[in-house]
């Protein structure tokens, strides 16, 4: 067996060394990269998604196949401790006064999409329509297929940055993004912004939703929960 220069060992050790440097400084590098790429990423096409560390949308789903409602068959059911429990169609929601919010969208796993423009009905406006009974202190929200659940306190629900969102980037919320109607809880991590919003139940106490039952914080304020220090959403 001929001897020779141990190039293999050097390559492997070199890669381990680079890997260690990458782990140590990757967080800084990712932030720099996101800042550099920000002007190039608006709306997030597939290509910008494929740049690691970049700030573009990812599709997460807990089910094999997500609901695929259309604008015409969509219905949002408000139930529970309301004076007038009712069902809203997309058209009815669109006819109500609309609010625009432009906010960063932050996922708890780390990716953040900058300055996403949303329009929709303020959740508190919707609650005013149905009238909230004094015994209600919380909301239990469900997706159209019942698989995904979330919660908000009544106090949180009255914030001016929580929407029942009808459009994003100027168009009806795409189905892949949870459309045509999704919840947008702007100041909290993305898992609170329940997609394919199907029902809002007014209840007497907070019932932890899907991800909370899997260990994530109920009050998912960006930068102040889940052990994270991301920049809060203003």
């Amino acid at each position: 067996m001929k001897d020779g220069t141990p190039v293999g060992r050097r390559v492997v050790l070199g890669m381990l060394g680079l890997g260690a440097l990458g782990v140590a400084f990757g967080s800084k590098a990712a932030t720099t990269e996101a800042n550099l790429l920000r002007p190039l990423q608006s709306g997030g096409g597939v290509l910008s998604q494929l740049i690691p560390g970049g700030s573009s949308w990812r599709y997460y789903s807990i089910v094999s196949s997500n609901p695929t409602p259309t604008v015409s068959d969509y219905q949002l059911k408000i139930s529970g401790l309301a004076h007038k429990p009712m069902t809203f169609t997309y058209a009815q929601l669109a006819a109500m006064p609309q609010t625009t919010l432009v906010r960063d969208f932050q996922c708890v796993t780390g990716w953040r999409v900058p300055s996403v423009p949303w329009t929709g009905v303020l959740l508190r406006d919707l609650l005013d329509q149905v009238g909230v009974d004094s015994s209600a202190t919380a909301l239990h929200l469900t997706s159209l297929d019942g698989a995904y659940t979330e919660s908000l306190t009544l106090e949180q629900a009255h914030r001016s940055d929580i929407l029942v969102a009808l459009t994003m980037y100027g168009k009806t919320v795409p189905v892949a993004h949870g459309g045509p109607v999704r919840l947008l809880v702007a100041p909290m991590y993305g898992y609170k912004s329940l997609k394919w919003l199907g029902g809002i139940d007014l209840v007497t106490h907070v019932e932890p939703g899907f991800w909370e039952q899997n260990g994530y914080d109920v009050d998912a304020w960006v930068g102040r929960s889940n052990g994270r220090t991301d920049a809060p959403i203003a």
Binding site: M1, K2, D3, G4, T5, P6, V7, G8, R9, V11, V12, G14, M15, L16, L18, G19, G22, V23, A24, F25, G26, S27, A29, A30, V46, Q49, L50, P52, G53, W57, R58, Y59, Y60, S61, I62, V63, S64, S65, N66, G110, A176, G227, R228, T229
Partner: protein
Amino acid sequence: MPRSRDLVRFTRAERWVHTATAALMGICIVTALILYVGPIAVAVGRRATVEQIHVIAGLALPVPLILGYLSRSVREDVRRLSRFIPGDSAWLRSRNRRTAGLPVDKFNAGQKLNASFTTGAILVMWLTGIVMRFANSFSVTWRTGATFVHDWLFYAILVVVIGHIYMASKDREARRGMRHGVVDEDWARREHPAWAETAPQA
């Protein structure tokens, strides 16, 4: 005109290590694409299941090579692959490697580099993958850093794997060597002349 003889290139052990590693790598890559490429993610869904498969395949990735170490022929090939002998650097620099007359042994310099890069890559993906999988045991900085390395190294691996498969697609006898363990002596004299001198006949 009699066919030239066959030489034994790879024993069952080497072929098993290669097949098992390739299969696990393939599963990792496919699941990674499902998890990361938007349109595919939307079409497939089942995120929790896909992630689970990815993690299991990833954890298992170094196992075939580690088990392979029980085999002497695997250990010998690893030794060959990890050392550069005189002629290897020249091989990398030469434009026409086939007729350069260099004493290419069982593995040429390109194959050696592929093997060490892949070994290093599997190690780094494994370690960063552990950080990502057991994220709660690590600080956010480490988690983000590990994800950053894991994501970018994936691209490098993709390029190398595609290149590896491309090279294999161009060489039927090389593929035969990996599938059946034997290669034609004439092929060996052309591609690996120094090895052909002493390789065992089938």
